[in-house]
Amino acid sequence: MSISLTTQDTATIAVRRLSKDFGRIKALADVSLVIGKGELFGLLGPNGAGKTTLISILSTILPPSRGEALVCGWNVATQQEAVRRSIGVVFQDPSLDTELTGEENLDFHGRLYGLDTRTRRNRVNEVLALVDLEERRHDLVNTYSGGMRRRLEIARGLMHQPQVLFLDEPTLGLDPQTRRRIWNYIRSLKDSFGMTIILTTHYMEEADQLCSRIAIIDSGVIVGLGSPDELKSTLGGDVLELAVPRPTEEFVQSLRSHASVRSLLLQNGSLMLTVDDGESFIPRTFDLAHDMGIRISGVSVRKPNLEDVFIKMTGREIRDEGIKEPKERMRIYRWGMRK
């Protein structure tokens, strides 16, 4: 599949130099992005990176501070109603009425989007079948499990057959089984409805397996953009991980300056190298370590994954989830003790 991203009419979403400030915090800084029709596009980044802020602006929940964003050609700041008619949103936080039944939640949604009685009835049946909730349709939502609620929210987002579907962390906190099922639904949506889908996630494998293109976002800035394979190939070669209990500055420097080493990251006694050819590089590493009197206690070589891409682009691991400073970690720990 090739998508022309230069012509305006194939762009379902066009974002130009978009910024959002919350007081002095820059949640988004100068983000530009074009998403084509029928793409399954992923926004990948740690918590607090600005993914939800971007989705909120695109779905007219938040006004942008600066810049411009078009959804299906409509401006999110000035043509809100037209934007709202073309999109479906599945929010990160639950947004169901738990005192209504599953079917009533869907029916309410259909009414809000102006669907007539017959269309509503048909669509309710359709979407409930899609997410396997037909048997629980007459039960109150507060009797549903987390996974069922998530599926119902996805079903609700599809009720009015939007051109663009936003899924904010669709599988957050779900068990692996439910996650796989939801992935299958999302794939089938793209294939059978040709819907443009934008999903946010901080799960690497989710972005890797589902998305045709990914934007890696960190601290409100897009640091990488491309298909999962493209992103991985920017690292090139192999990822070599060495467990080195006591690395010296000299050892690290000599590795870093080696011709076939593309990048190097030192983290808690573990050295991560991206090299052209991992297998042939291993013996050289051991020779070098031997000469310098350094002990290597473990080694592994593998193909790069998105996690490696993320580490290279941002200099840290995604699972840090925003807690970067050891000081901050301590403070949280102490606070936890006092309770």
Binding site: I61, V89, D93, L96, L100, H109, R111, L112
Partner: protein, 252 residues
């Protein structure tokens, strides 16, 4: 236009469905007015000397109906905050419908459920012969009930739109709902009170609602029904405008 009424109906339907489903909340919300009516009504009957032929229960009857309306309408409006807390407000605000339609539907839904609750007290008053209005009086009472409920629902929504989470409920309860109720003349006659108290009651919109209800139900009253109705309509209009504007600006 069709879409507007569709929105109003959708929001109204949701309120009514939730109301019919939740029996415990219904009973809970009616307990306080019932307690006031029964306990205060009989407790003060011995010392109440207002008019020789009016018992204290008869006197506070219309005020208790107004109390029920005040409480359930304000809380109905403030319920927007629970929708915010549980995320459901986002679902509504991201839909391609006007905020005014949402506001109108929410208000009408709350007015409907509040009037059903207050209606139970009204029927009880009529059945126990504690009020003896003519049919036109009943109709007039219903109009006053609508105005009281619609005004305070809008006011509740106005407050809700300015608050972040439902933790401020208690504050609203203590510093707004209770004073409005106690200063409305629901529990004591308006005449012969100290000047400061009279001033406060006259500034309170619910006073006109309670007095209008008294007139409609054939009890003794302080103002002309035209004044009561006029004051209440004015308050209703202001509350609706303020509520609609503030809700329109509310962010999810």
């Amino acid at each position: 236009m069709n879409l507007f009424f569709g929105t109003v109906y959708t929001l109204w339907l949701r309120e009514v469905k939730r109301f019919m489903r939740n029996k415990s909340r219904l009973i809970g919300s009616m307990a306080m007015p019932a307690l006031f009516l029964v306990v205060l009504g009989s407790g003060f009957s011995g010392v109440f000397r207002y008019q020789s032929d009016v018992s204290y229960v008869e006197f506070i009857g219309p005020g208790i109906v107004a109390m029920s309306l005040l409480f359930s309408s304000m809380f109905g409006g403030l319920n927007v905050l629970w929708d915010k807390q549980f995320g459901f407000l986002k679902e509504i605000l991201v839909a391609p419908v006007s905020r005014t339609g949402i506001m109108a539907g929410k208000t009408l839904g709350t007015v409907t459920t509040s009037m059903v609750k207050a209606g139970v007290f009204l029927v009880a008053l009529l059945a126990l012969r504690l009020a003896r209005p003519d049919p036109a009086g009943v109709l007039m009472a219903l109009i006053f009930m609508f105005l009281i409920s619609a005004s305070f629902t809008s006011l509740g929504i106005a407050f809700a739109s300015q608050m972040k989470d439902p933790h401020g409920f208690q504050l609203i309860m203590n510093f707004l709902i209770m004073p409005v109720f106690f200063l409305s003349g629901a529990l004591f006659p308006l005449e012969g009170q100290p000047q400061w108290l009279t001033l406060l009651t006259y500034l309170n919109p619910l006073t006109y609602g309670v007095d209008g209800m008294r007139y409609a139900l054939g009890a003794s009253h302080a103002f002309s029904p035209t004044l009561s109705m006029g004051a209440l309509v004015l308050f209703w209009a202001c509350a609706t405008v303020v509520g609609t504007v503030l809700f329109g600006r509310m962010a999810a």
